[in-house]
Amino acid sequence: MSEKGMNLTLRIWRQKDSNAKGQMVDYKVTEISEHMSFLEMMDVLNEQLVAKGEEPVAFDHDCREGICGMCSMYINGEAHGPDRGVTTCQLHMRMFKDGDTITIEPFRAAAFPVIKDLVVDRTSFDRIQHAGGYISVNTSGNTQDANALPISKHAADEAMDAATCIGCGACVATCKNSSAMLFVGAKVSQYALLPQGQVEAADRVKNMVAQMDLEGFGNCTNTGACEIECPKGISLENIARMNRELMKANI
C-alpha cells in the first residue's frame, strides 16, 4: 500500500425506504488509511456525498467499540466483513487492499426488513425477549443477599459466555435459513445455566421459541455459519442446550 492510502470502489445497497425498490450503486473513495475503521471509511464517503449535495448512505452504528450491537453491514458476502471476532465498527481497513471493490449490503432476512439503505429493523429480537427473556423478580432491592446463593464458577462463566451476545443479528444474516437459533439459544442458555432461571425455565423456552417462529425466522440445519460469523464467539452448544431445554419443557 502506498503512503497515500487506498483507492477503493464501494458497491452499496441504496434503498430510499422500506417500500422502495433498492439497487446497488458504485462510489469511489480515495486515500483511505489502513488504520481507519470501516465505518470511518464510510464517514469519508458520506462527507463526500454531503459536499456534493447527495444523500449520504444511512447505516446503523453507535458505540463504535463492538459492544452495542447496532452496526450491521454485510460486507463482501460476510456479516461484519472479512475479519473474525469483530463487529463492522471494529473492522479495520488493513483487511483490504488498494484497488479493491467492496460490496456492502444490509443484513438480509425476512424478519429484518430494510428501513433505509443499510439500516434494518431488528425489533423482532426485542419481541422474542419480551416473550420470556427475563427472570420475574421485582426490583424492590429486597431480594436475598447476593452471596446467599453460591453458583459454581463454571456455571457462572458459561452463563456469562452466553450472555455476551450483543444481539446484532449477524447469525441471522449469515444463515441460509435466516435462523435466529444462535441468538435465542444464547438468551435461553444464560438463564438455563443459572439457578435463578430454573423456576420459569420451561415457560421461558417455550414462549421464546414460539415467538421466534412467529417472527418468521427459519430453522437450524446445523451448517454452523452463525458461530463462525458471530462477533462474540457464541457457541453452537447454546443451540443444543435450547433444544434440550425445549424438549424437557415439552415432556
Binding site: E47, I135, S152
Partner: protein, 670 residues
C-alpha cells in the same frame, strides 16, 4: 429562584430511612391513572422505567437506538462498586461514602452520596436475582477487584463487560414490563423538547427517527436519563449518538445546569491515530490493577522508539520512568483518574510521549504476567518452572481477567499487548456536571426529574471508577421510584394530560421550525465540519488543563462558530424520512451552546478541583508542589446556571456545600 436542595434533617445515617418513612405514597389503584415519561434507556432510564412500571405507573420509554438494550451504558467495562465488604477488608457504607466524596474532591452533596453508598449493596442483590452473571470465585461466591482511588476491593464485575451485563439486566426487567403492557417502548425516537403546563413538566415532543414524524406525548411527570455531554469534544469514548439534547432542552425551559466544567478525561484510552478518527476507545481502568504505566527515562530512547529503532521491551527497568509509582508511592498506578490523566499529559507535554503523535504512554503487563505465573507455578506445585512456563501460566491468568480488552486493543492497534506494552492516552469519558437536581432528583422545574449521568449530583468534580454504574442503577431502581411517588401523590385527581393544548402547539412549532430551517438552509459546510471545530476548541482550551485566557478565547470562538453554523450549515435530505444528518445537526446545535456555558463555568471556577484543573491554582511549595490546589473558602459550592438566552448571559446560582460528616482535606495520593 433560590436553590433548595431539600436534604432531609437528621443524622446522615438516618436521612434516607426517615425520608422514606415520611413521604406520601400513591395507592396501587391510583398509580394506574398516572403516566410517566422516561427519556433514555441506559442503566438509569432502563432501571427507572422497569421499576416505575412494576409499581403500576404507565410508563412511556424513549430511546434513539433501535433497541433499549443498546444505550451506551452497555460499553462500561470495569465494574460496579458496592459496600458489601465481602472481602472483609474493612469496607462499609461510610467508607464508600467517604471515598466517593473524597474522590469527587469535595464538590458533591454529602446526603446524596451517602444514600448512594447505602443502596449500593441492594444493587448487587438485585442484579444477582435477575441473573446477571457476575464473576465468581471457585467457592461459588462473588469476586471483587479494586479500582483507582480507593484502598479496598469493592468492585463487582462481569469480565470486561460489566455495563453490558447490568444493562441487559435492566433491559430484561423492562422486557417483563413491556410484555405486561406497562411500558410502552418508543425505539428510534428522539426527544426534541419538553412541554410545560402551568410550570409543571407535562410531556415531550419527540421525532420518530424512521418516518420523521413529530409526535406529542403527555405525562404527569417526565424523567430525563439521557446520559452525559462528553461528545461536546467531538472525540470521546461516548457512542456516536450520545448527545445532550434532552438535557439542554430542559435547561432552556428552566432547569438549571450545574457544574458543566466537571468532565472526566479518562487516563486509559487508545491513542488517536489520525484526523479521520471518529471516536476513542476506552481500555478499562481495571487494567491499572495489573498494568504499570511508564515512559522512557531518557529522551534518546523516546526518539529511538518513535523512529522504530528500539522497542519498548528493549528498555531495562532502570531506563523506564514509572512516573505514577514515582510521584504517588502510596497509590501508585491506582491514583484516581484525574490525577493519572494529568500525569500522562505532563510527561507527554515534556516530550516523552511514545508514539508518532507524541501523545501516548505505556501500560505494561510484563510484571503482572510474571507475578501471576510464579503464583500459579506454586499452586500447581511446579518446581523450577522455566521462564516460558511462568509466562504461559501468567498469560493465562491475565487473559482470563482482561482477555476481551486485549483482543479489542489488538484489533484496533494491530499490536499484541501480551508481547509489547499497550499504548494509552487520556480521552474524554464522563461528565460529572449536568442538570441540577435536589435530593428528590427533581430539577428546578416541577415534575421534571433527571437521573444518572445526565444529572450532576453524586460525583462532585471527579468520578471514581465503577461508580457510574452504581449511580445509574441506584437512581433508577431504588431512589427515583420513592421520590417521584411523593410528587405524584398530588396528581391522582389530575386525569389524563391532553396534548391538544397551546403549550403543546407552541413546543411542537418550535421543533418543526428548527427542523425546517436545517433542511432548507442553503449552507456549504457539513454538520461534522462544525462538530470537529467545536471539539478542537474544547480539547485545546477546556481540556485537561485550563486557564483564564484560553477559556475567554474559547467562549468567543464557540460563539463565532455557532453563528457561522446557523448561517452555513448544510443538511441534505428532507424532514420526513430517516435522516441521520438532520439528527446530528440538532445535536451539534445544542453542543454549540453547551460548550460555551462549559467554558463560562470553567472560567468562573478559579480553583483546581477534580477533573477541572486551572493553571492559576496549583500548590507552590511543599510535598504537593505543582499539584492541583482546591479553594474551599471561595468555591465549595455547586454552580447552577440559569438559562437567559445566550449562554454567556447565563445567571449563576450557588448551592453552598456543607460538609458535616467529612472533614475537608487536600487530596493526597502520595
Amino acid at each position: 429562584m433560590a436553590l433548595n436542595s431539600k436534604v432531609p434533617q437528621g443524622p446522615i445515617k438516618d436521612k434516607w430511612t426517615t425520608y422514606k418513612d415520611k413521604i406520601d405514597l400513591v395507592n396501587p389503584a391510583n398509580k394506574r391513572l398516572i403516566d410517566v415519561i422516561v427519556v433514555g434507556t441506559g442503566l438509569a432510564g432502563g432501571s427507572a422505567a422497569a421499576t416505575l412500571a412494576e409499581l403500576g405507573y404507565n410508563v412511556k420509554a424513549f430511546c434513539y437506538q433501535d433497541s433499549p438494550r443498546r444505550a451506551h451504558s452497555i460499553a462500561a467495562q470495569g465494574g460496579i462498586n458496592a459496600a458489601k465488604n465481602y472481602q472483609g477488608d474493612g469496607d462499609s457504607t461510610y467508607r464508600l461514602f467517604y471515598d466517593t466524596v473524597k474522590g469527587g474532591d469535595y464538590r458533591s452533596r454529602e446526603a446524596n452520596v451517602y444514600r448512594l453508598a447505602e443502596v449500593s449493596a441492594n444493587i448487587i442483590d438485585q442484579c444477582v436475582a435477575q441473573g446477571v452473571p457476575f464473576a465468581r470465585d471457585y467457592g461459588g461466591l462473588l469476586d471483587n477487584r479494586s479500582f483507582g482511588g480507593v484502598l479496598v476491593s469493592r468492585t463487582f464485575y462481569a469480565k470486561g463487560q460489566t455495563g453490558q451485563q447490568l444493562l441487559l439486566g435492566a433491559y430484561s426487567a423492562m422486557n417483563r414490563q413491556i410484555a405486561r403492557g406497562k411500558i410502552e417502548m418508543f425505539n428510534r425516537h428522539e426527544m426534541l423538547d419538553v412541554v410545560k403546563v402551568d410550570g409543571k413538566a407535562r410531556g415531550i415532543i419527540a421525532r420518530n427517527l424512521i418516518t420523521g414524524e413529530i409526535e406529542r406525548h403527555s405525562a404527569h411527570a417526565v424523567v430525563i436519563a439521557s446520559g452525559g455531554y462528553g461528545n461536546v469534544y467531538f472525540l470521546s469514548t461516548n457512542a456516536m449518538g450520545s448527545n445532550a439534547t434532552a438535557a439542554w432542552k430542559i435547561h432552556k425551559k428552566g432547569a438549571y445546569f450545574a457544574n458543566p466544567c466537571y468532565t472526566q478525561i479518562h487516563p486509559t484510552c487508545i491513542p488517536r491515530s489520525g484526523d479521520y478518527q471518529s471516536k476513542l476507545t476506552l481500555m478499562s481502568e481495571s487494567l491499572r490493577n495489573d498494568g504499570r504505566i511508564w515512559v522512557p527515562k531518557n529522551m534518546e530512547d523516546v526518539i529511538a522508539i518513535r523512529e522504530g529503532k528500539k522497542k519498548p521491551t528493549d528498555l531495562s527497568e532502570d531506563e523506564r520512568d514509572y512516573y505514577l509509582e514515582r510521584r504517588y508511592p502510596a497509590f501508585g498506578n491506582l491514583v484516581p483518574r484525574d490525577v493519572a490523566s494529568r500525569a500522562a499529559k505532563e510527561r507527554c507535554d515534556a516530550g516523552y510521549g511514545v508514539n508518532a503523535t507524541g501523545e501516548a504512554v505505556y501500560l505494561d503487563f510484563a510484571s503482572a504476567i510474571e507475578r501471576y505465573g510464579k503464583e500459579q507455578a506454586k499452586i500447581h506445585n511446579i518446581e523450577n518452572p522455566s521462564k516460558q512456563k511462568i509466562y504461559d501460566l501468567g498469560k493465562a491468568i491475565v487473559e482470563a481477567k482482561y482477555g476481551n480488552l486485549f483482543q479489542m486493543y489488538e484489533k484496533i492497534v494491530d499490536e499484541n499487548p501480551y508481547e509489547t506494552p499497550m499504548m494509552i492516552y487520556p480521552a474524554t469519558h464522563y461528565t460529572m456536571g449536568g442538570v441540577w437536581v435536589d435530593y428528590n432528583l427533581m430539577t428546578t422545574v416541577d415534575g421534571l426529574y433527571c437521573i444518572g449521568e445526565a444529572n450532576f449530583s453524586d460525583h462532585g468534580a471527579n468520578r471514581l471508577g465503577a461508580s457510574a454504574l452504581m449511580q445509574g442503577l441506584a437512581d433508577g431502581y431504588f431512589v427515583l421510584p420513592y421520590t417521584i411517588g411523593d410528587y405524584l401523590a398530588d396528581e391522582i385527581r389530575t386525569g389524563k394530560i391532553p396534548t391538544n393544548t397551546p403549550e403543546f402547539d407552541e413546543a411542537e412549532k418550535e421543533v418543526k421550525d428548527r427542523i425546517d430551517f436545517f433542511v432548507n438552509n442553503q449552507g456549504t459546510n457539513s454538520v461534522d465540519y462544525y462538530h470537529k471545530k467545536l471539539g478542537k476548541i474544547m480539547w485545546d482550551k477546556c481540556g485537561m488543563s485550563r486557564n483564564e485566557q484560553g477559556l475567554k478565547e474559547a467562549m468567543a470562538e464557540i460563539k463565532a462558530l455557532r453563528e457561522d453554523f446557523w448561517k452555513n450549515v448544510k443538511v441534505p435530505g428532507t424532514a420526513n424520512e430517516m435522516n441521520p444528518e438532520l439528527e446530528k445537526a440538532g445535536r451539534v446545535a445544542d453542543f454549540l451552546e453547551l460548550g460555551e456555558l462549559f467554558a463560562k463555568d470553567a472560567l468562573n471556577r478559579n480553583e483546581s478541583c477534580g477533573g477541572h484543573f486551572r493553571e492559576e491554582s496549583v500548590e507552590l511549595d511543599g510535598e504537593q508542589k505543582g499539584e492541583a490546589k482546591r479553594n474551599d473558602k471561595e468555591y465549595a459550592y455547586v454552580a447552577a446556571w440559569e438559562y437567559k438566552g445566550e449562554p454567556a448571559d447565563a445567571v449563576l446560582h450557588k448551592e453552598e456545600l456543607e460538609f458535616n460528616d467529612i472533614e475537608l482535606k487536600q487530596r493526597s495520593y502520595k
